[in-house]
Symmetry: none
Subunit: 199 residues, 4 copies
DNA sequence: ACGTACGGGACGGCCCGTTTGT
DNA sequence: ACAAACGGGCCGTCCCGTACGT
């Protein structure tokens, strides 16, 4: 079945996935605001109406693009919240976030700065809640407003910085980001060092 | 001069100044990309042609808005570069930048994230150079790529965070930001406790 | 029949009937021009293709909606035409029309004003003929052009007015409408006071 | 001045007036809902943007078209309201309305039935108020709900009927309409008959 | 009897930049 | 120094109709 159903399956729900992929590519190049439906349709070789069939709105398309990222982030948040000490919670939330941001650098860096995206995320009930919980995890390591400021700086800074240092491989970038973020938040590195990376 | 030239001079270059002021207001509300010439013209009560008379393009207007910010930033960079130790240079560059960002929160936070603004600043010869020098000052406290990453995180994080913590007064926000940034960069606080030289 | 054929028959021509019912509801809310096939399909929980399967065009659906109304109107016209005096013919045509309009207020009021519906009715051979015969019945109580004008005013006025006086129950509205229309056409009220034959 | 300023004045506020004129022509042919900005722009030989310069919205254009009609109607209403007896007030309001409707037949008949226009008029504060006052003048000749129903029938009927009897000249149509409306409302004709028209 | 996918086209709205006329 | 008018173009949304599958 799987053998001959391949060409059929390619049409069943596949165009939707291809659309998302193309959207990711174009969003990373021209940001969300700078990517028109026409560009997306052209890139796939169909008309705008075909795009409209799958996503009735540009926002809906953006949502579909963000969905996997937020699912992963939420999973990390849930795991972090289950830990015992604030220190451990922040540590886990931090590394998870950095890993996510590094792995999707181009997308994260460009979407994190787009006003339209920010507005959308803040408005959306589930997405905004995930962000809030993540921020709280990082903020709770310091009491009071200082913690909030630190969390905001680390989150925004990380999200933006991943797009500016393009000539580092994922592993290195991840290490440097975690280091600077740990210092910013006042987190001591975990007891078992992960290699000699403590330069 | 002030006696008889006042009404004349107010009409001479005054509209231009008012235009800039309005642009700042609207940019802070709707970002740069979301602010059309029409909106600016309407806000001042003139037609688009009047705006066009002073600024032949939207970019030119943006430049005029950014000009004073970058002049101040450049002055701080120049002063910082004259200091002797990397530590002192970074310290000075940091506090200057934070003070600037805090004082112009709404504008900085919204413009720092706008892709169009970023693109413009990076291509512009003078503006881009100022940013590069500022980044270098912060980066040189740590050798190698780690310094670059740290500087990027601190710069981006600060610029974005000032717009997210709206219920703090300038002084408190400044203090918290400097604290977290110092930790992130690994700067020890200066021996002289907080005085007027900090700002 | 009702025992075992019920579920079968309900699926056979039932969707078509439900489609018509939903169309009536949506037409009354958004008029004909403002109701898209998509809205109808969504309301029923099927796709446009399903609608298209039953009605190959929006006009066809409109026709199906209008069909019962015009059948009833035609029956009244036929009965009226069989009467002997012009006065009796007009009286019968009037009360029948008012009763029809009142009973289907929301639909009649919104469809009577829709240019698309009017165009459709006028071009359609059978529907247009019914209207013409109805108008003639009312017009013939006065000779010449005056009768035509009166008939037009009464017909249009009644059809539009039923949608504007929403806080009257059917019986009252019917009585008032018949009164004003009789006066407009110069019809003396029938000798037999109001009974069941009036409706 | 008037001689050589003609070509200049033609450009002054004239395009706006020509736009309104064209809109009237097209509205009468295709109704409001059926007239796109593109059609209007094409008819005048300009682009949509030129239309947008004068009317930022299709509604705005419609408003400009309706403006003179409602001004005249309001003037009639004001005069009517100053009379002493309800009978005289209704008589004046009726003849004024009929004259207005007859003189602008094609426009009135098509706009009166358009759902979009009706919605707009009802929403608009001033326009809706004028209509309400006019209806009240006609309704107050009969007490209670009967008066309201009569006024609604006469108003709607007249507005719709003017578009259906196209082969009557203005004077005849006006006479017939006033006759039927007087009968519908129960108004006795004024003492000085206007000729032998009381057929 | 109905779903999936898509084409082709229109719509209202709004943009930026330019010309022309004071 | 400013206003009026306009061009050319793009945007997102939504439409109706039609293949082609089951």
């Amino acid at each position: 079945v799987a053998i001959q159903a391949a060409p059929k399956a390619s049409s069943a729900g596949d165009t939707r996935q291809r659309l998302i992929g193309i959207a990711v590519r174009l969003f990373t190049r021209h940001s969300f605001a700078g990517t028109s439906l026409q560009m997306i349709a052209d890139e796939l070789g169909v008309t705008k109406a075909a795009v409209y069939h799958h996503f009735h709105t540009r926002e809906e398309l953006l949502l579909a693009v963000l969905e996997p990222l937020f699912l992963e982030l939420e999973a990390g948040v849930v795991r972090a919240e289950a830990l015992r000490t604030p220190h451990a919670r922040a540590e886990h939330a931090l590394t998870g976030f950095v890993a996510l941001a590094v792995r999707n650098r181009s997308l994260v860096s460009v979407l994190a700065g787009d006003p339209g995206v920010i507005e959308m995320v803040r408005t959306h009930p589930r997405l905004g809640a995930v962000i809030d919980r993540q921020v709280r995890l990082l903020a709770d390591v310091h009491p009071g407003r200082a913690g909030e400021v630190g969390a905001a700086v680390v989150m925004s800074g990380t999200a933006c910085a991943v797009g500016q240092v393009l000539d580092l491989d994922d592993e290195e970038l991840h290490r440097y980001l975690v280091e600077v973020a740990r210092r910013a938040l006042g987190l001591r590195p975990p007891r078992r060092p992960v290699g000699t990376s403590d330069r």
